[in-house]
């Protein structure tokens, strides 16, 4: 369950973006839309407690990460939020499996290797679990990142421009994977995008409002 009310986010001393209202039930998906510079990424980061909050709430299963102090907020984010990005997916030098295990490593919880392998297998990546990140294709790397986002059974999935530089087929595949993942994890999914192809797949759109 994700509840956002009058969220204002930014950096330094001034808010740069606003999101008036959003309620997402577990397993439901929404798009955060807006043109370049409308502050979509800033709002996503604010929901995850990584950008400065200037007003409003963003509760994940009743918890607002902004209410928690430094270390506790980081650990809570590690456990509760699964992140997928446009082009930063993996840490080079580590294998695909190790990249999935970064999630429990960051959260400081037990590393369930079997679960990590199972997730990679479900995403069709069983064959590359032992491959180093730099030898994995971009599409595969993003799927490894999805596996990592699902690793700790998150209560919210955030995807920041996940399809921005993909062709139609890959875009379709990633959208499908993310929606399936949200349904399977029973977590709300919020995708920030300006990709019109995604708008056809997800009905609920909320507008990021730039603040001068």
């Amino acid at each position: 369950m994700l509840e956002i009310v009058a969220l204002q986010a930014g950096y330094g001393s001034a808010p740069v973006a606003r999101l008036p209202e959003l309620r997402l039930e577990p397993g439901a998906a929404a798009l955060l839309v807006g043109g370049s510079g409308s502050g979509k990424t800033t709002l996503m980061l604010a929901i995850a407690g990584l950008a400065r909050r200037f007003g409003g709430h963003a509760r994940i299963g009743g918890t607002d990460l902004a209410d928690l102090g430094g270390g506790a907020r980081d650990r809570a984010r590690a456990r509760m939020v699964g992140f997928v990005f446009q082009d930063i997916h993996l840490v080079a030098g580590l294998t695909a499996l190790e990249n999935v295990l970064l999630a429990p490593y960051a959260a400081g919880v037990a590393q369930d290797i079997e679960r990590a392998r199972g997730l990679l297998a479900r995403l069709g990546l069983a064959g590359i679990a032992g491959q180093r990140a730099e030898r994995i294709s971009r599409g595969q790397a993003q799927r490894v990142a999805i596996a990592r986002a699902l690793m700790l059974k998150p209560r919210l999935l955030l995807a920041d421009e996940p399809t921005a530089s993909l062709d139609d087929q890959a875009c379709e595949a990633v959208a499908g994977l993310l929606l399936d993942a949200a349904a399977e994890a029973n977590a709300p999914l919020l995708i920030s995008t300006h990709d019109s192809r995604l708008k056809a797949r997800v009905a609920l759109h909320v507008q990021a409002e730039a603040m001068a």
């Binding site: 809570a76 970064l102 959260a107």
Partner: protein
């Protein structure tokens, strides 16, 4: 997944860069360690060889030379002094212990030293086998001398005139080995000891022959006997006041305090060592600066991945820890390799010095010093890593992801 695994993943990305850093650190550490090890060995050698001797009385000349010849056995003497003078001083009530040494000949470059019994006593020398010399032309060998000459109890050999090899052989006066000493870690290990009479006998015979050749009548009259130096240990601090003064009043005599002259000698040698020390410090500084630069570059290169790690919940403290762990590993590796290099270098210099007639130096065994060297390399790396680590700590995922989007 562990922090160590993550550090290895980062290091593996620029192996040559890290290898270069480890190398420069190792060279700096190695040179510094070698200088210190060698200096310590030299200090130990000085201390062992001085063996509590407070004053050396010998012929006028350079006081440093008097000490290097009579104590360290590494220089030619300033001359000889009358036996009678030495005996008179030795009987002074301020003298707790004394020994007379008489330098004259060598065997294969090893000095044959005529010495009274006080001399081995200064060094706590004891017999490994055989017996002490009792009569002229009997000798006791220091442990290293026995090894070098490959002689043992009962063997005989002839000496050569002078203090280094290549002099005239005293063929008609063979020495006989009566004993071999235990190792003392002092100058005595490399000496051949005998009674002063042996040296007197050879040289009086020589003088006589020479005189006879020239047909001089004076040959019949024996010259007054001489010794090279008198080594003195004071009974009390008062000795330091009265004895040098007493010696100074005698004609053609000088007295020198070994600790003072050794310190002067050390400062002479120290000029070269200081230069090397500065070189080592420069190397360490270059290594440190290079490390700071490459680590900052590495953090820059990893900015996006560090940001990724932050967004998935890694704490800033952990990112700081990753950089510090990386620096520790490289510091440890550089320290260990550097220490090994330093020990090799110090050992090589010491054995080169020994092979060229210098003092035999023993490089200290592995101990707290080595741990301190590795610790210092570690500390240097951590200091160099402080800035980059702080920069990693401050990674702001928002700014970086925004820039990427």
């Amino acid at each position: 997944m562990t922090t160590l695994r993550l550090v290895f993943a980062f290091i593996r990305r620029s192996p040559l860069g890290w290898a270069f850093h480890v190398l420069t650190l190792a060279l700096g550490v190695g040179l510094t360690a070698a200088i210190i090890l060698f200096g310590n060995a030299l200090d130990d050698r000085f201390k062992n060889d001085i063996a509590g001797i407070d004053l050396v009385v010998g012929a006028k000349g350079s006081p440093v030379q008097l000490i290097t010849s009579a104590i360290f056995q590494a220089d030619i003497p300033t001359g000889n002094i009358p036996l009678e003078t030495a005996e008179r001083l030795a009987k002074n009530r301020m003298v707790a212990a004394s020994a007379m040494v008489l330098l004259g000949d060598n065997v294969k470059g090893l000095r044959i030293v005529g010495a009274t019994e006080g001399y081995p006593a200064f060094y706590g020398a004891s017999l490994a086998r055989g017996a002490w010399y009792a009569a002229p032309m009997e000798v006791v060998l220091g442990s290293a001398a026995a090894e070098t000459l490959n002689l043992d109890v009962g063997a005989t050999f002839v000496g050569q005139h002078g203090l280094t090899g290549g002099g005239e052989m005293h063929g008609e006066f063979p020495y006989r080995v009566t004993g071999v000493l235990n190792e003392t870690g002092t100058v005595i290990d490399r000496l051949v000891l005998t009674v002063p009479e042996s040296v007197w006998r050879i040289h009086e015979h020589e003088a006589k022959e020479e005189a006879e050749e020239k047909g001089e009548a004076a040959a019949a009259e024996p010259r007054p006997r001489e010794v090279t130096a008198l080594l003195i240990k004071y009974r009390s601090a008062m000795g330091a006041v009265t004895l040098p003064k007493l010696a100074a009043e005698m004609p053609d005599i000088q007295a020198a305090a070994p600790p003072v002259e050794a310190a002067r000698l050390r400062s002479l040698l120290g000029t070269g060592a200081a230069l090397m020390t500065w070189l080592a410090i420069a190397l360490l500084a270059v290594s440190g600066i290079g490390f700071v630069i490459s680590l900052f570059a590495a953090i820059q290169q990893r900015r996006r991945e560090l940001a990724l790690l932050r967004t998935i919940g890694t704490t800033p403290a952990r990112l700081l820890g990753i950089v510090l762990l990386e620096a520790s590993l490289l510091g440890l590796l550089g320290g260990i390799i550097g220490l090994a290099l330093g020990r090799l270098l110090a050992g090589a210099i010491a054995s080169a010095a020994g092979a060229h007639g210098g003092p035999v130096l023993a490089i200290a065994a592995f101990g707290p010093f080595d741990l301190a060297v590795i610790g210092a390399a570690l500390a240097l790396s951590l200091i160099a890593a402080a800035g980059p680590a702080l920069s990693a700590y401050r990674t702001d995922p928002a700014q970086i992801l925004k820039a990427a989007a």
